[in-house]
């Protein structure tokens, strides 16, 4: 084992050395002279001995000196640069015009007057629109892109108060559907679906998702949806790619930006439990419905109603007992960036404090709240080693601390669902924890008497790389290499303890206490729950050159992505990929890309797959026939792409057959426990990657002086060789069937992304809506014989639910007697009636059909922004339609768990003879109701919604004021997150409806200061 490790290290080192040599070669041969530039400072122009000269100083609006500003005399050869103090002198005469220009600032012209000592203030270029996409491995000019690509940039990302980066671009990109089902600190991630697949996330080009990072360190999020833009990922390109690019330092004065905000989180839609009286009354009704005697006497019911006996007849509002009404949320972010031509830096420091809803108790010396703190640090440095060689080093660290009580918040929320208000009092008369045989887990005990269990997460990542131009070999040739190392560790300190609960009984006036469970001492263990390391290396060479009207570029790249996860064998995904692009006059474009890669997840003889793709583009606007006669049109580009992609879906050595540990036995007259082994699942020795053929066609248009731009796409993604088990997975085999490459599915849809921006005087506004549709279809699955066509899964949407169609509720015994009924079940009035599709008089599996909505999902978002003078406002709406959710289990049904669990206010709408006409819920019963709880359309509810995902109102202090404060900018803002929701789902949150940790509404206020 050690030998292998050593071998691997040596291999890695030799590989690294190899590129160093190549790069050094590049450095040495390309431009030895330019090396002198390294770390030297620009020398201020010498004072001219003869002739008049003008001196002056260039600063930004905060008064900070600007370095390396090019100062020229218009129409004359004289030129110079500012020094470290922003000072310059230049030979010029009165009446000459001086121009001052430097990157990221607006160029200014100043007429030389009488004064000698000029004070020049340059203004920053605001939101310079980017002209390139941060696509895989190299940036690509937007105007030349042939793929379906979209991006979100930092100024939009910071508008949404989400801990998770995916939350900040949710709703902003056509084709990307994001949902958040939990608001639990450190558990509040979004589920992403890009054209129906879970996308691969890259951070600076390397597969890795730090879902919890601050948006300020991010420059852009680029979403690549089609084959040609993702083909270079090869065997993992099928799902689409989201590339998150971090910020780089920009040449110019040091800029410091500090943002602080603080707010409160309020849970959305907590479950609505029944109070003890309603619970007990409904319980008796349910028992009566089931033909069983009542459990609660009238005296019990009266005691619940009046609250006269809080210990014997408790009515505990558990949510109120355990949860705070709201919890604080705050974040502080500091970014510093700057640099000169030779070296540039970006440093970011961010602290987040997100507290949870769990109340704590003063008597504990430790924190039993579920509070989350995150510290991130990033420094990105770029250095030009020479004119030809550029190197960078990015360092990222993240520390996350999560406090929790001995029982995790999800346990506590599970207890809410399984504990009726009348189960037991929080505390007995003597102050001991209430409880009884059926409920030994007092929720208050779970939250403050069960010890604590803090978790720590640590990430450390270093990216480094070099790129050298090889112009002296041939112009436009370059070579580049990079490496990324990441180490992750998660550990839990378990200091939990058990607690006892007591049932108080009053026998002849004296309280006696019956104990359940035992109190224990606090444990103290530390466990590494997960750790992984990633070592990613990449070597690439490219060529890019323009010959007259022809422009070509090519890239060839090899990479190894080595991931060591826990104690598993490392996974090495490796291979080569490449891309070639050509355009003629930027009018006709062709991109060809491929990936050739694989891993040991596949059997030895077939590990590597080849995935090619092609993209074509045509900028019609550049055609002569449109050039002049359509002035209103600025850009009209048609594009189409087609290609094959792979999906790396094989499990951990799934192709091998293994025996596994099985149940043992206890032989002997005295117990002798012996171990057992058994055959593992049947393996598929020929397993291979899943594949897709993806077609995308679209256009990008811009018109009316670029005020309106539209992107539209239509795609058909045909997935095949999907890993599924065969339909005839007959249990007579006696073992589990392997997954084989057989499934075929088709996803298709249209996407529109529109932006309109304009101004009325100094009122600027922009609206950018996007809308997408997604339709899926099972083209082939190895279907078992189905008696009737309505049972066929083939042709239906992927993951379509199948069940009975509910035809309302039975109203009378006569109706029941004349209806088809499920086998073995005799329903009662108030039970759900199912449709007998084949008309054979019984409800059975032959009556199962597609339920719960088969229409294509339509999702949309709209961003509105406006500013007037110092004020700005922006709002993001997000919504979805044709969505249904299945409501079931102990978060929606009454008296589950054999009658021991909670019931809800929606259960009060149940059918009774009196409410027969208006009932929206079947008659109540205890525990499982085999008729009503069949998987049926009754429990599918439309869950369309529109949310005001974020809204922000800001005010920037006027320049005159901030100048006096020696600032370069100051803005105060208030922000709302999930402020408003309109939904078709009654009384529940459309995203978080299963009684888990609710998602949060956050209202915050903050300030941003720029120095």
């Amino acid at each position: 084992m050690r030998k292998i490790l050593l071998k691997r290290i040596l291999q890695k080192i030799s590989l690294s050395l190899l590129w160093c040599i190549i790069l050094q070669f590049g450095v040495l041969t390309v431009n030895a002279a330019s090396k002198t530039h390294i770390f030297t400072r620009a020398i201020p122009a010498k004072k001219q001995a003869r002739g008049p000269y003008i001196t002056g100083k260039v600063t930004d609006i905060a008064g900070k000196p600007l370095i390396d500003v090019v100062v020229q005399v218009k129409g004359k050869p004289a030129t110079t640069q500012t020094d470290l103090d922003g000072a310059f002198n230049i030979t010029a005469q009165a009446g000459d015009i001086l121009t001052f220009s430097v990157a990221s600032y607006q160029t200014q012209e100043v007429k030389v007057g009488d004064k000698d000592d000029l004070k020049i203030t340059l203004l920053e270029v605001k939101n310079a629109p980017s002209t390139t996409f941060n696509t895989l491995y190299t940036p690509q000019k937007k105007s030349l892109s042939t793929g379906a690509i979209a991006e979100v940039r930092t100024e939009d990302l910071t508008k949404t108060t989400a801990t998770r980066i995916s939350g900040t671009y949710a709703g902003r990109i056509a084709g990307l559907y994001a949902t958040q089902s939990s608001g639990e600190p450190n558990g509040d991630d979004y589920a992403l679906s890009l054209r129906g697949q879970t996308p691969l996330i890259l951070l600076d080009g390397v597969p890795q998702s730090f879902s919890s990072i601050n948006p300020e360190q991010i420059e852009s999020v680029t979403v690549m949806k089609d084959a040609v833009s993702t083909a270079m990922m090869g065997v993992r390109a099928s799902n689409g790619v989201i590339n998150i690019t971090t910020k780089k330092g920009v040449e110019g004065a040091q800029r410091i930006s500090f943002t602080a905000f603080t707010g409160i989180q309020t849970p959305l839609n907590l479950p609505k439990f029944l109070n003890a009286y309603d619970y007990a009354s409904l319980y008796n009704e349910a028992l009566a419905n089931d033909g069983k005697p009542a459990a609660y006497t009238q005296a019990d019911l009266d005691a619940y109603k009046t609250g006269s006996d809080p210990v014997g007849h408790p009515d505990v509002d558990w949510l109120n007992q355990i949860l705070k009404k709201n919890s604080p949320y705050s974040r502080y972010d500091l970014s510093i960036s700057g640099g000169r031509k030779v070296a540039r830096y970006f440093v970011n420091l961010d602290y987040l404090n997100q507290q949870g809803l769990l109340k704590t108790a003063d008597f504990n010396t430790y924190n039993t709240g579920n509070d989350y703190k995150r510290y991130t640090f990033r420094t990105n440095v770029d250095i030009d080693l020479s004119n030809a060689v550029n190197a960078y080093l990015n360092v990222f660290t993240r520390i996350q601390n999560l406090d929790q009580p001995g029982n995790s918040p999800s346990n506590i929320f599970a207890s809410f669902r399984s504990t009726p208000n009348n189960a037991y009092p929080v505390l007995n008369a003597d102050g001991s924890l209430g409880g009884n045989r059926d409920y030994v887990n007092n929720i208050y005990g779970q939250s403050v008497y069960s010890g604590y269990k803090p978790q720590y997460f640590r990430d450390f990542r270093v990216d480094m790389g070099m790129k050298g131009k090889l112009d002296q070999i041939t112009k436009g040739l370059w070579v580049s290499g990079r490496a990324s190392i990441n180490a992750y560790l998660m550990e839990t300190i378990t200091r939990t303890k058990a607690f006892a609960v007591f049932q108080q009984t009053n026998t002849s006036g004296v309280a006696s206490y019956q104990q359940f469970a035992n109190a224990g001492t606090m444990s103290n263990t530390i466990d590494v729950n997960s750790q992984n390391t990633r070592f990613y290396t990449e070597l690439s060479t490219g060529y890019s050159r323009k010959f007259g009207n022809h422009e070509v570029s090519a890239l060839l790249l090899g990479s190894i992505d080595d991931v060591q996860d826990g104690s598993q064998l490392p996974s090495d995904l490796q291979g080569i990929s490449g891309k070639a692009s050509y355009n003629f006059k930027e009018k006709y474009m062709v991109d060809v890309a491929f990936g050739y890669n694989g891993s040991q997840a596949y059997p030895k003889n077939n590990r590597y797959g080849f995935f090619p793709a092609i993209g074509l583009g045509w900028n019609i606007k550049k055609e002569d026939f449109l050039k002049d006669n359509t002035k209103w049109l600025n850009v009209l580009k048609l594009r189409a792409s087609y290609g094959k992609t792979g999906n790396n879906n094989a499990g951990y050595f799934e192709y091998n057959k293994y025996y596994t540990t099985g149940t043992g036995y206890n032989f002997g007259e005295t117990v002798t426990t012996v171990g057992g082994v058994q055959e593992g699942g049947i393996n598929n020795a020929n397993i291979t990657w899943e594949k897709a053929l993806k077609f995308n066609v679209g256009f990008d248009a811009s018109m009316f002086n670029n005020t309106l731009s539209v992107s539209a796409d239509y795609f058909i993604d045909n997935y095949y060789d999907l890993l599924q088990t065969i339909g005839d997975n007959n249990q007579i085999l006696g073992n589990t069937f392997p997954r084989v490459n057989l499934g075929k599915e088709r996803y298709s849809g249209v996407e529109f992304q529109i932006t309109y921006n304009n101004h009325i005087g100094s009122f600027n506004y922009a609206i950018s809506p996007n809308i997408s549709t997604l339709q899926s279809k099972v083209v082939f699955q190895d279907e078992v014989q189905r008696k009737y066509s309505w049972m066929l899964r083939t042709g239906q949407p992927v993951d379509q639910a199948f069940g009975y169609i509910a035809d309302g509720l039975f109203q009378s015994t006569q109706q029941i007697n004349s209806s088809a009924l499920p086998v073995g079940i005799t329903p009662q009035p108030g039970d759900i009636k199912y449709r007998d599709l084949n008309g054979d008089g019984v409800i059975d599996d032959n009556d199962i059909t597609a339920i719960g909505g088969t229409k294509p999902l339509i999702y949309y978002g709209a961003n509105l922004a406006a500013n007037y003078k110092g004020f700005d406002i922006s709002a993001l709406f997000q919504g979805v339609t044709n969505r249904t959710v299945y409501l079931s289990g102990n978060s929606y049904w009454e008296f589950q768990g054999g009658g021991k669990e909670q019931a809800y206010q929606n259960n009060l709408n149940r059918w009774t003879p009196a409410t027969a006409a208006t009932a929206t819920y079947p008659r109540v019963s205890i525990g499982r109701n085999l008729n009503n709880q069949q998987f049926s359309s009754y429990w599918y509810k439309p869950a369309n919604y529109v949310r005001l995902k974020s809204i922000e109102l800001g005010y920037s202090l006027p320049v005159s004021l901030i100048k006096r404060l020696s600032l370069s900018g100051a803005r105060i803002f208030v922000n709302g997150y999930n402020l408003f929701t309109a939904t078709s789902l009654d009384g529940l949150d459309p995203e978080s409806f299963s009684g888990g940790y609710p998602i949060q509404k956050i209202i915050s206020a903050g300030v941003n200061i720029k120095l």
Binding site: K7, Q11, L15, L18, A280, Y283, L287, D290, K292, Y296, N422, N436, R437, T505, Q514, F516, G558, L569, Q574, I576, Q600, Y652, F653, N656, Y659, T660, G662, G664, Y665, N666, F667, G668, E669, T670, V671, T672, T673, V674, G676, V677, G727, D728, N730, Q731, I732, L733, G734, V784, Q785, P822, V823, G824, D844, D845, G898, G899, K900, G927, R928, N929
Partner: protein, 560 residues
């Protein structure tokens, strides 16, 4: 560049070395058969077991012997006839059965390479016994099932097999038993081998299979409306009395084993209750062996205790079961002169009653049980689980009369015991003969003597001196009910006797007990729960819909 990247292949492994491969489990160089032995151990874990097996409840809670204390449980659905080919059957065995059969067939196919020649014949015979058990468990639930012989299938084989006839399945199991009975462990069993398939276990299986095969449900008892194909797989198309003789002879073969290794322990040294608290005694032929624990007490004990003595009270034995126990004299409670008093219902009863159920005012865990209304063990606190009948189950529990908390002990599920074989013999012989023979009477007397029923006049133990065949049948059925209560026998007995349609369609009773001011009790029998049985289809389980739709050759049982 390609060179650089493909050079890295060297350190890629083709699988984690810590995982067991087939070569390691069945290893020609493994002199001790280390993993092969573990494979056999795992096979034993597929033996049928019992107790709170159906999601926390006894299978017997779906008979007239008990009802589940909790509402809305799986076993309640079974008891109310709410099963179908679509609804998940909580007692389904289709997958489990074929999993065991495959495991055995893999073993038989591979074991010969392991160099432990001395152990292999016994291992093979033991595994064949376990396979025969799996077939029997399938047979009693579904009727005839596809027999696969020694085949080890691959996932690409055509598995659309036909169901074998009921007759063929019985023959297969019996032939297997005959073939292996001298190859498995022979009595006396060495201490460390206890629990392994023995000659006694093999013969007990044979006895039970032949008794079931001779019973009315299968012996020409299939519904006349069934198709010929269904008739063939659901039982024997016609009745044959000789099947009872075969069953009787099979039981005798075990009873008369050389050296008589199995017998009823003397009641003076081992009470009826104590036989369940041993890993081994002369009564036990085969039990599912577990490590020491007290889960039976925990799951079924009375609820009025706390902490280490807490019981969940899940099983509520019915008044119907309690009434089936005779008086201490052996007389049925409703017999004239039995001395039964409705207001002292537990006085002078068959001692087995006290070992089977916990009744009101019995001392348990150092106090008197309070199953009266509002008592500690039946507090009537709305919604909390408590007895529904005024009784808690007692059988299989350790003796915790004076202890203050439960403690670990052997709690092994007895698969075969000698008393069952005696009853098998008595039942089969009675059905075979025109009038009951003396040895049939003797079986009942022996069981009652062991139960410590008073001897009474001329060694009768309350048994009538002369009975007709029908009277004897009734006596045997009742004795079987009370002797084997909660041992997963009655559920199947009621089916094979075809008694279920009467016995399992009624209201079951419980005891309502009021504590009077003077600390006496007033007893009244009250309805407790319904039990429902839809004949004839419920006599066999339906084959799961998922399987019949995959395998078009599987004939579904009649009525489903």
């Amino acid at each position: 560049m390609a060179f650089v990247f493909f050079g890295c292949k060297k350190y890629q492994q083709d699988g984690p070395l810590e995982n067991l491969t087939e070569d390691l489990v069945f290893d020609p160089s493994d002199k001790n058969g280390y993993y092969a032995e573990q494979y056999v151990n795992n096979l034993y874990s597929s033996l049928p077991t019992g107790f709170n097996r159906i999601n926390g409840d006894f299978l017997d809670a779906a008979t007239d012997d008990a009802i589940p204390s909790r509402d809305g449980t799986d076993i309640e659905s079974v008891g109310l006839g709410r099963i179908s080919s679509v609804i998940n059957n909580p007692d389904g065995f289709w997958n489990a059965g074929y999993t065991t059969i495959r495991k055995v067939n893999v073993f038989l196919k591979k074991i010969d390479v392991v160099p432990v020649a001395a152990k292999i014949p016994s291992w093979k015979a033991e595994s064949r016994f376990l396979r025969a058990m799996a077939y029997f468990e399938l047979l009693k639930r579904y009727g005839g099932i596809p027999l696969v012989g020694d085949a080890v299938f691959s996932d690409t084989d055509n598995l659309d097999l036909k169901r074998s006839s009921f007759a063929a399945c019985v023959d297969y199991i019996v032939n297997e038993c005959d073939a292996i009975k001298t190859l498995v462990k022979q009595e006396p069993i060495a201490s460390q081998d206890w629990g392994k398939a023995s000659r006694g276990a093999v013969l007990a299986l044979k006895s039970r299979v032949l008794l079931y095969a001779a019973s009315p449900l299968y012996n020409g008892g299939v519904a006349t409306a069934a198709t010929p194909a269904q008739k063939e797989v659901m039982g024997y198309p016609t009745y044959d009395a000789e099947r009872w003789n075969k069953a009787a002879q099979a039981a005798l073969e075990l009873i008369n084993l050389p050296g008589k290794p199995y017998s009823l322990p003397a009641p003076a040294t081992k009470t009826f209750s104590a036989i369940f608290l041993d890993r081994k005694n002369t009564e036990i032929i085969l039990d599912y062996l577990r490590d020491v624990n007290y889960d039976i007490e925990y799951n079924n004990g009375p609820i009025g205790f706390s902490n280490q003595a807490v019981g969940l009270g899940r099983t509520s034995p019915t008044q119907d079961l309690v009434d089936a126990f005779p008086m201490l004299s052996g007389a049925a409670i409703n017999a004239t002169g039995s001395g039964y008093s409705a207001q002292a219902p537990y006085t002078n009863r068959d001692p087995r009653l006290g070992f089977t159920v916990l009744a009101n005012d019995v001392t348990w865990l150092n106090r008197k049980l309070e199953m009266f209304e509002g008592g500690q063990d039946k507090p009537n606190k709305g919604g909390r689980v408590q007895t529904k009948t005024g009784y808690y189950m007692r059988k299989f529990m350790g003796n915790f009369t004076t202890a203050t908390s439960y403690a670990n002990g052997p709690r092994n599920f007895i698969i075969f015991r000698y008393a069952e074989i005696m009853l098998n013999y008595a039942e089969a012989q009675n059905e075979y003969l025109a009038t009951p023979s003396a040895d049939i009477y003797q079986v009942l007397r022996d069981l009652r003597a062991r139960a410590q029923i008073t001897v009474g006049t001329v060694n009768r133990y309350g048994i009538k001196d002369v009975m007709t065949k029908d009277e004897m049948r009734t006596a045997i059925k009742n004795e079987r009910r009370i002797e084997l209560a909660f041992e997963e026998q009655r559920f199947w007995d009621l089916r094979r006797w075809k008694d279920a349609e009467q016995v399992l369609n009624k209201t079951l009773s419980g005891m309502n007990i009021i504590k009077n001011a003077n600390s006496t009790f007033t007893f009244s029998v009250v309805p407790a729960a319904q039990v429902r049985f839809i004949a004839p289809k419920m006599y066999l389980y339906p084959i799961p819909f998922a399987e019949t739709s995959k395998n078009i050759n599987l004939v579904q049982n009649y009525g489903w």
